[in-house]
């Protein structure tokens, strides 16, 4: 590693002066019923992309069951008082549109994209789904039956099993601990449960509509007022949940997946939300660690040692809590070796200042990649959505690059010491127990589970 890293390139052309990065102006409005609207022009193609976000998801209704917000979203697209399921799908195709309905822990959403020439009928359909979903009994029954097969199937995916276990470990009694329902929970879903979630969450006071694309904002705003203006409904009361327990010391959770020919590693610790003032510095620290192709972890366990194809790290910002995690699917015989390097790189960032050149490179990476999204409607939509959903300052996008550039090696080291909590990382390994248990046990007290989540004797 050391000899290789010192190799340099010869004759690399310098970077030319940078062209200014300008974010298209956003038009903001709030309708009298409370619906927030954000519009931005982007004329790259004669289409537009949009999302109708509802600011609540699984967490809000987690006391009723798990996965109800997602099931509600799924059934929302299967019928309204005016249109059958089949009609909805054909109408979408007639408008050249794509549409998806989803829910996560903190939001539900209707996402859509279509040709600008059909913006009015598409928005009318979105409006119908948000206000007049009829939850047809037969459609609900079919989707519930499908979901039963899905929850059985997901337990065969190493990535799912690892993510599920880490969330359980980190969040305990907090709703964020539950990523997917059990078969029994799905079997017990009632149509009325969905209706109730729909009434609570899908209201204009709880919603915001964001559109990016080929349209004129003032005309679009009129269309939106005409379409969504008489929607009514109050915001559901927010719920606070007790903070999860801070875990002390490393522990290892082995999920036994018989017959695995590879081991999925996923280790994590609590971190911060998107709104936290340290978000940008943690983002830069993460990109140095394992968030970029050129990062230390990727160079070490992929490009130098060949243990894995796709190592990566990231910060997952849920609304109330965020967590840092690092993952790699590795050869069974190098589980201990991979974990050793994962911790070596964490500890190195915590103990030694980042060399100036490496820091400059990482800043360039983060600021450059931040603007790649400017070139597409989808890219703009995702930046604007994140900014609005997290109620970031108005100038967040415009000042982001300067804030990244101002960071020093001391800032990064302090950030690593605060959030890359090496000593208290919770380590999940998913694989064939017989091949990896001894290696895993070297890193902390071991608990063993089967793929159904049942604890096995260690």
């Amino acid at each position: 590693m050391a000899t290789r890293a010192s190799e340099i390139s010869v004759g690399v052309p310098a970077l030319a002066p940078e062209r200014a990065v300008r974010w298209p102006k956003r038009t903001r409005a709030r309708l009298s019923n409370g619906l927030q609207v954000v519009l931005a022009e982007a004329h790259s193609i004669p289409k537009f992309h949009g999302e109708l976000f509802l600011r609540a998801g699984e967490a809000l209704v987690s006391d009723r069951s798990t996965g109800l917000a997602e099931m509600t979203a799924t059934v929302v697209r299967t019928g309204t008082v005016k249109r059958t399921s089949r009609r909805i799908e054909e109408d979408l195709r007639r408008l050249g549109a794509d549409l998806g309905t989803t829910a996560g822990q903190d939001t539900s959403a209707i996402s859509f994209a279509g040709l600008s020439e059909f913006r009015e009928p598409l928005l009318r359909l979105v409006n119908e789904l948000a206000r007049e979903a009829s939850f047809p009994e037969a459609e609900f029954e079919r989707e519930r039956r499908q979901k039963l097969e899905e929850v059985k199937l997901e337990r065969t995916s190493p990535g799912f099993l690892a993510g599920e276990r880490l969330r359980k470990v980190l969040f305990g009694a907090h709703p964020y601990a539950r990523v997917s329902p059990t078969e029994d929970q799905v079997a017990a879903y009632k149509r009325e449960d969905l209706n109730e979630v729909y009434r609570d969450i899908y209201t204009p006071e709880n919603a915001f509509l964001i559109l990016v694309g080929d349209f004129e904002p003032q005309a679009m705003l009129k269309t939106i007022e005409g379409t969504f203006g008489n929607w009514t409904g109050a915001k559901p009361a927010a719920k606070e949940f007790p903070a999860p327990t801070q875990l002390r010391g490393r522990r290892v959770y082995l999920v036994h997946n018989p017959g695995s020919v590879q081991t999925q590693i996923l280790a994590g610790c609590h971190a911060i939300t998107r709104k936290h003032p340290d978000w940008i510095r943690l983002g830069l620290t993460n990109s140095l660690y394992g968030g970029a192709f050129n990062s230390r972890l990727v160079m070490n366990i992929r490009e130098d040692k060949g243990y894995t194809y796709s190592p990566r790290s990231g910060v997952t910002p849920l609304r109330q809590r965020g967590y840092f995690s690092v993952s790699a699917a590795v050869r069974n015989d190098v589980v201990a070796a991979s974990l050793t390097e994962i911790f070596y790189e964490l500890d190195k960032l915590r103990s030694l200042p980042v060399p100036e050149q490496e820091l400059a490179d990482a800043k360039n990476y983060l600021t450059g990649v931040f603007s790649l999204g400017l070139a597409t409607q989808e890219g703009l939509l995702s930046q604007y959505s994140a900014s609005e959903l997290n109620e970031l300052p108005d100038d967040y996008l415009e000042t982001y690059r300067d804030k990244v550039r101002a960071l020093t090696p001391a800032d990064l080291q302090a950030t690593a010491r605060k959030y890359l909590d090496s000593a208290n990382m919770q380590i999940v390994v998913v694989g064939d127990r017989a091949q990896i248990e001894e290696q895993a046990a070297l890193f902390g007290e071991l608990e063993v589970y089967d793929a159904q989540g049942k604890r096995l004797q260690a």
Partner: protein, 437 residues
């Protein structure tokens, strides 16, 4: 019907390298791609998986940019990069702030001119590729289904029928000499196209292309194995064990017409009538109406990106209480209906609108917004390498908007027949047996 108006300019350098530029200064971002006309279909026998392993080697160092420098130079310029191996092409691409254009061109030219790798790099990437195969295929439910399962069942010519990710024994047998030979044979400028899209002044772009790429000597015209298939006379079936998953699955593939023909345009729309999401006939019947299947999707994977025998493939996962034969019978019923009655006028109109809309998204997209114009790059490259007409990107749509109900029904009658298809059944192993073993 309006057509896209992408400003496409192209030229060919003395050494045979094609250069295509499509300027658009909306955002200060430029996408660069280099496509080589070699994919896994044409890799050498006894070296399955080699085209893909070789793609990895292209990131391992060149004369003036040693190992780790390729990735580092792009990332530290504020950009992202990747490569992928397909049936008939291999691509390398970067999206960067436009002030890094010269640097990217220098880097692509350096590795086209003088790849410089050693045994250690090869061992390293062989290990990485094996983990890639494990994470995507061997350790995943339905891994490789059906893209790796289908070719050996459907095809008889080794070029089309072998394991594209590579048997581990073949990967182990690959030597540095193989790497060098493959590089000298296929990675010559006269077998490639360079694409520069986005924030570029075309004149400057062509001048830079000339500056960095013109000194690379042309090579001999590469030999290509003939991918033609012997005529198929019967339905073909294959069976694969599913080690992890809980649901029985099947894939049904029909060989499609040759690219750019009238039949091919009709087939493109027929594909959308059958697949095309929740409105598609197959999903509607099998999942929504009869409720036999949990998933039913598929289609022609990359309509514009093939230059040899290709299938339209439907992938179905069905409920365990239905047998494979019952499921297949329901699928056959959908196809019989299209053969006998064709599609409706209203349906065709819907399909054409959706087609146009999807095409715009393809041009812009995307990969989630962080690889702008990936789709445009891919289309320009394939139209340049296979058809020698990058401008097709602006006119190809006309053929789809003109397709008629009669042409679509004729295509269905000719192509959606048993003697033109192959079926792979991927069936979960008995869990009790597995636990006892």
């Amino acid at each position: 019907m309006t057509q896209p108006q992408i400003p496409v300019q192209s030229t060919t350098l003395q050494n045979g390298l094609r250069v295509v530029i499509a300027p658009d200064a909306t955002a200060p971002v430029v996408t660069v791609g280099v496509y080589y006309k070699i994919g896994f279909r044409l890799e050498p026998q006894g070296r399955s998986g080699f085209a893909h392993l070789f793609e990895h080697m292209m990131f391992q160092g060149s004369e003036n940019a040693p190992k780790m420098q390729h990735i580092k130079l792009i990332n530290s310029s504020g950009g992202v990069l990747n490569g992928s191996t397909m049936y008939d092409v291999t691509n390398y691409y970067e999206a960067v702030p436009s002030n890094a254009l010269e640097r990217v061109l220098w880097l692509e030219a350096d590795r086209m001119r003088a790849l410089k790798v050693d045994d250690e790099n090869l061992r390293n990437q062989r290990d990485v590729v094996k983990e890639e195969v494990r994470v995507n295929v061997l350790n995943q439910p339905y891994g490789g289904f059906p893209w790796l399962d289908m070719p050996p069942v459907a095809f008889r010519n080794w070029a089309n029928a072998h394991n594209f990710y590579g048997d581990f024994a073949d990967l182990d047998a690959a030597s540095l000499m193989d790497v060098q030979k493959f590089f000298r044979t296929y990675y010559v400028p006269n077998n490639a196209v360079l694409l520069i899209l986005g924030d570029v002044n075309p004149q400057e772009g062509f001048a830079s292309a000339e500056k960095y790429f013109a000194p690379i000597p042309a090579g001999a015209a590469p030999p290509f194995a003939d991918p033609a298939e012997p005529p198929q006379k019967e339905e073909r079936r294959g069976y694969v064990e599913e080690k992890f998953g809980t649901l029985p699955a099947m894939a049904i593939g029909y060989v499609v017409p040759q690219r750019l023909t009238k039949e091919w345009h009709a087939m493109g729309l027929l594909d959308q009538a059958l697949h095309g999401g929740r409105a598609g006939r197959i999903y509607r019947e099998l999942v929504l109406e009869k409720q036999i299947a949990v998933e039913a999707d598929g289609g022609i994977d990359d309509l514009f990106g093939y230059n040899g025998p290709t299938q339209m493939t439907t992938r179905i996962m069905h409920k365990p209480e239905y047998s494979a034969e019952e499921t297949l019978a329901a699928f056959d019923e959908v196809l019989r209906e299209v053969r006998e009655k064709g599609i409706t006028e209203d349906e065709l109109e819907q399909l054409k609108v959706k087609w146009r809309s999807d095409y715009y998204s393809t041009l812009e997209g995307g990969r989630g917004g962080y690889m702008p114009r990936y789709g445009l790059m891919h289309l320009l490259a394939c139209f340049a390498l296979f058809d020698n007409q990058p401008e097709l990107v602006n006119t190809i749509q006309a053929g789809f908007s003109k397709a008629t109900r009669e042409e679509i029904q004729t295509a269905a009658r000719k192509y959606l027949v048993p003697e033109n298809r192959a079926i792979v059944f991927r069936t979960p192993v008995d869990k009790k047996e597995k636990e006892a073993a």
